[in-house]
Assembly symmetry: C2
Homo-oligomer: 323 residues x 2
């Protein structure tokens, strides 16, 4: 099949990648649409070692489901952590933290920048018929945005700051605005600012970040500068949610966290069902983030496009008629 392939920090387009095998309990999904996210770009640059097909944001259609034929033909999205089911984390309901987990397109499991992807049935969520692929493909990052509210109460009276208005920051902004909170978002690029303004969300510049005033700060830049700004902006006893990973270690003034009794919360994958509800109702509309769509054969061009500063969502159409 056609797929993008990552090996030795080099991404290539190949048409000879074997269609994934379908182990018991898993199904085969024909990928209809897949999204490139920041992690994919970092991965392609060798952020950590991975050999295989990248890609973890997708919507597809079940084409093989051994013993579960009722799934065939259904459109699905899929959770990215493939869990063992028997470790302590799995047995205590934390499958996303499975000690032996594979991760779709990232760790020991070929991803969605391919014609076909295989996933355990338990990872799949059916996509409501009314929901177009262009919205459903955002389920994974929207779930990650919703994870903030799953971990930390966000009150309508809270002063909230989001650092970063990229692919994930935009979705976080849309989600947090729904609480009625007093929301500000640091956005560097004009397109980012325009998108926020279109949602009645106030974009601000770094210079306008206040000192020790915000009840909640969401760090979505993944940069040391963003982390430092978060510590500057949060009020005593306030919370910082970290939604991005960072290259290497950061120099952190830990004493200020102690003295100001700050709470720092790491946040990763989130609830797919909730994301699908908000997409299906139209409460969150991520489609204005889409800047371009490419066939899989133009995947390297798509990656180059996605890596330009300020560019939001670039999609891949692995089984499109465009090719």
């Amino acid at each position: 099949m056609q797929a993008l392939w990552l090996e030795d920090k080099t991404l290539t387009f190949r048409d000879d990648v074997p269609v994934p095998s379908v182990p018991p309990g898993s199904v085969l999904v024909r990928v209809r649409l897949a999204g490139i996210c920041g992690t994919d770009l970092e991965l392609a640059k060798g952020y950590y070692p991975y050999r295989g097909v990248p890609g973890h944001e997708f919507v597809g259609e079940v084409v093989e489901a051994p013993g579960r034929s009722s799934w065939i033909g259904h459109r699905v999205v899929g959770e990215i952590n493939i869990a063992c089911g028997i470790c302590t984390a799995c047995r205590t309901g934390l499958r996303a933290h499975c000690e032996e987990r594979a991760v779709l397109g990232m760790v020991n499991h070929d991803g969605a920048f391919a014609e076909y992807v295989s996933l355990p049935l338990e990872n799949l969520h059916r996509v409501p018929q009314s929901l177009p692929d262009e919205a459903a493909v955002f389920t994974e990052p929207l779930a990650a945005a919703l994870q903030i509210g799953h971990q930390v109460p966000v009150r309508p009276t809270d002063r909230v700051l989001i650092l970063g208005a990229g692919r994930l920051g935009q979705l976080i902004a849309q989600v947090l605005a729904l609480t009625g909170c007093d929301l500000q978002v640091v956005a560097r690029h004009e397109t980012q600012q325009a998108l926020l303004a279109g949602c009645n969300i106030t974009p601000i510049t770094e210079d306008a970040v206040p000192c020790h005033k915000m009840d909640l700060v969401v760090e979505a830049t993944g940069s040391p500068r963003g982390f430092a700004l978060a510590l500057q902006a949060v009020r005593p006893r306030g919370k910082i949610v970290l939604k991005s990973t960072y290259r290497g270690s950061l120099e952190v003034n830990v004493s200020s966290i102690v003295v100001n009794e700050i709470t720092l919360v790491g946040s990763r994958c989130g609830p797919f069902a909730s994301a699908l509800r908000l997409l299906a109702s139209g409460t969150v509309d991520p489609t204005p983030l889409i800047v371009s769509r490419y066939p899989l054969s133009k995947g390297l061009t798509a990656f180059e496009h996605a890596s330009r500063p300020g560019v939001l969502k670039v999609l891949l159409e692995p089984t499109s008629l465009l090719e």
Copy 2:
């Protein structure tokens, strides 16, 4: 009056320090007993600039209370943050985080290693008659230990690790053991281990710290090594409470906090009334931590004693008959 005096990173004993003035709303307290804590030792080494009388753990007796004569003769302990009462933090109930605060013996307010100390009446708590000075002098650090439970739920089923079994670590251990949790404490020194064992608490060595297993880790060493061990020990979605400040910045692997969805909580001063209840009922007995008592004139010797590795609580008796 007699007092210890800190200036240019040098601690001296003086007998010519003026008795503190008593502004409206404040009272004058004759110090009966004061405790040397880790922060005092760091302060004396120039941890941050302070000029004046150090000392913030004390029990004393009210000797002057303009317009509030009912307080005279009462034994009291005192909260250490002297708040402005009008800033945002004060108006939202966070007086310990007052933006303009002075801090007893640390920031712009002479402390308790003196014959007399002045404090606002609102900072004082009366000491129950049955509670001896030797226990009451631990109210401040015991309150700091109790602040953990104020910020983070500690469940009887939790696996809990405390890093550090010094002055504060011992009190934290006693407090957390009351929850019925599965508690382990990393203790380096034999006296620390013996004290814990006497409270039926399991002391362990650093080598025995598990990987990613603990629901809650309390970091009470203030060392980079302790911080690294906390990140090692905590389970995915677990919590780390930081009870110590650190010199300078730490190199932190922030991505592991994100990927494992760790919550980091800075924790400082705590509830005095709760501490007094646990002391008065005898539920917590801190007096075995006392290793020695010195008159104020021997204060420099007392500091030297307190700074030896593994030494727990050294007390000063500013107005003792011992002198």
